[in-house]
């Protein structure tokens, strides 16, 4: 019984860490335009819309976070093998991984933006200096929380995978959850704030991203501030739910009978299916169709 109570406490802690990691990951990727909306940041100068948006996307979020979290976890594991205190080892590992993220962000921004020289897009050194450090700070939070939850899963809950492999797996899952949930909010709601609310961006408007703020030109810190409100928190809830529920059903029910954990997992899937259907029907009823059905059939 004590073992299960201890496990539930660790599970709650990992869920909280995952929630913070998800929110930081999405905000970091939005400041760096790393998710799918990077295509519009790259397209805009080609359509004649020069901008001061940071763009460090040369890999998708899942492989990038897989790399950084595996790197942070691997270095922390190496420090721990050298008898370093686990807290210090994790911090040192994550700091080194964050420097790799900083190098990646710098070379990616310079490389991507330099390729737009023929369209007149400048490489802004002040953008490079101010944005890179902000993405590094957010990346550190995301990597630190993920590596810490991996260490807890390995050391306290007894998962058989070594720490670097857990870092890779949960890093990829973090990037997948964060990009899936957060990308639409940055891509549609922020980059195309000049389009109508409550509708997708018409394909004809591609590339015409919002480039001006209340005063002066918009930069990516403005985008991080805006998307942290819904995109970031939704990504955090998404990743937090994934980690917490996966661990909770295993810790509580697998000790009693492995099939109970499976049945509880299936029940959770069914509950989320019902919630999803409710959201879909709610939107159809409350927002209504864009055109009348007869027109659509024609």
């Amino acid at each position: 019984m004590e073992h299960i109570v201890f496990g539930i406490g660790i599970t709650a802690l990992t869920g909280a860490l995952a929630t913070v990691a998800g929110a930081a990951e999405d905000t970091e990727s939005n400041i760096g335009s790393q998710g799918d909306p990077n295509s519009q940041v790259q397209l805009a100068p080609q359509m004649g819309f020069l901008h001061r948006i940071f763009n460090k996307a040369v890999a998708g979020e899942p492989p990038a976070y897989g790399l950084w979290c595996a790197l942070g976890a691997g270095l922390a594991w190496a420090f721990m093998a050298m008898q370093t205190n686990p807290v210090l080892a994790i911090v040192l590992g994550c700091v080194l991984a964050t420097f790799v993220q900083g190098v990646y962000a710098t070379t990616a921004y310079v490389g991507r933006t330099a390729s737009l020289a023929k369209f007149g897009q400048p490489v802004y050194v002040d953008i490079l200096k101010s944005m890179t450090t902000v993405t590094m700070a957010h990346a550190f939070i995301a990597i630190f929380c993920t590596v810490t939850l991996c260490h807890l899963i390995n050391a306290a809950l007894g998962h058989p995978f070594p720490l670097p492999l857990l870092g890779l797996i949960w890093g990829i899952a973090l990037g997948a959850a964060g990009s899936a949930t957060g990308n639409p909010y940055y891509g549609k709601e922020r980059q195309y704030q000049n389009q109508k609310f409550g509708a997708g961006v018409p394909i004809s408007a591609s590339g015409n991203i919002v480039r001006y703020a209340e005063a002066g030109e918009r930069n990516s810190i403005d985008n991080g501030w805006f998307t942290a409100k819904i995109g970031g928190s939704a990504s955090g809830i998404c990743f937090g739910l994934i980690v917490f529920l996966e661990l909770w059903r295993t810790i509580v029910f697998e000790a009693i009978n492995p099939w109970y954990a499976i049945i509880v997992g299936v029940l959770m899937i069914l509950i989320f299916t019902v919630v999803d259907r409710y959201i879909e029907v709610w939107a159809r009823k409350n927002y209504g169709p864009y055109t009348v059905a007869k027109e659509a059939d024609a």
Partner: protein, 280 residues
């Protein structure tokens, strides 16, 4: 419909010769494994191939919209095919590896449920953001009615887009994809772990307890690697985006199955050769 109209799109055309070559390559790889290790190695390789095929087939179900989905221009989840499938499948592998001691059946089902749960949460949150964050209802661009609920789709598409969000059929497809991916990844892990636990103590001349961390790590790395191989291969087959099982691109799955089987057989053979000495 005329013969010309019935011709499949160029990207979806099946090439019988290429598929035949693939099957021959698969048989050759199985034959090599049978020659090297007729009992243990061959059964493990067959398990790895089945796991790889499950991953490849499951990836077709995952609704991925890529960059257009991030602007609400196309339905699906706004990320890459391989990335999302890998995220879900690896979350399943995580759970399956934990249950590996309970036997193959429990571990594989646990892995499948873990992958399905990850996708169910992710798909639900995607719709949550579309509906409550952006005020956009779900609409498919590929079918007039949702095949499961019967909801009409065309009038819910906003002007100038191909649809947006995740209609219910896409949600169900995502969960099925996560289940198949998680189960396939776990099957590969469990098969390789069993082989390594048996063979590594003899190869390295150490006790079974000492070899466990190495066996778990090696089997885990191969499972992750094979997952990425199969997910990326399938992403090429899908060519960018897919809405789910109702999308016409879904019909391309036989081609991907053959490719996944051959790639898994080659990678699996390397994994087996790590511990089985060549008979020379």
């Amino acid at each position: 419909m005329s013969a010309v109209a019935a011709k499949p799109q160029a990207g979806g055309a099946m090439n019988p010769t290429a598929m035949g070559v693939g099957v021959v390559m698969l048989l050759i790889l199985l034959g090599i494994c049978w020659y090297i290790s007729p009992v243990a190695g061959l059964s493990v390789l067959i398990g790895v191939i089945i796991g790889g095929v499950l991953i490849g087939f499951g990836t077709h179900f995952v609704p991925v919209g890529g960059a257009p989905a991030a602007m609400g221009q196309a339905p699906g989840i706004a990320t890459g095919v391989a990335m999302l499938a890998a995220g879900a499948g690896l979350a399943g592998l995580f759970g399956g590896a934990w249950a590996a001691e309970q036997g193959v059946v429990v571990a594989v089902i646990t892995g499948g449920v873990g992958g399905g749960l990850m996708m169910a949460i992710t798909c639900m949150m995607v719709n949550f953001v579309y509906v409550f964050g952006m005020g956009i209802p779900s609409a498919s661009g590929k079918v007039a009615k949702d095949p499961i609920t019967g909801d009409t789709q065309a009038e819910y598409k906003s002007q100038g887009t191909e649809g947006h969000g995740l209609p219910f059929v896409s949600f169900v497809g995502g969960v099925i994809g996560g289940i198949l991916g998680g189960a396939g990844g776990t099957l590969i892990y469990v098969e390789l772990l069993g082989l390594y636990e048996q063979a590594l103590p003899g190869v390295m001349n150490v006790t079974a307890a000492q070899v466990m961390p190495i066996a778990v790590s090696a089997a885990g790395m191969f499972a992750v690697g094979l997952f990425l191989v199969n997910a990326v291969l399938t992403a090429y087959n899908i060519t960018g985006t897919i809405e789910g099982p109702h999308d016409p691109k879904f019909k391309r799955w036989p081609r991907s199955i053959v490719a996944s089987a051959v790639a898994s057989a080659l990678c699996g053979l390397v994994a087996v050769l790590l511990v089985v000495p060549l008979p020379i």
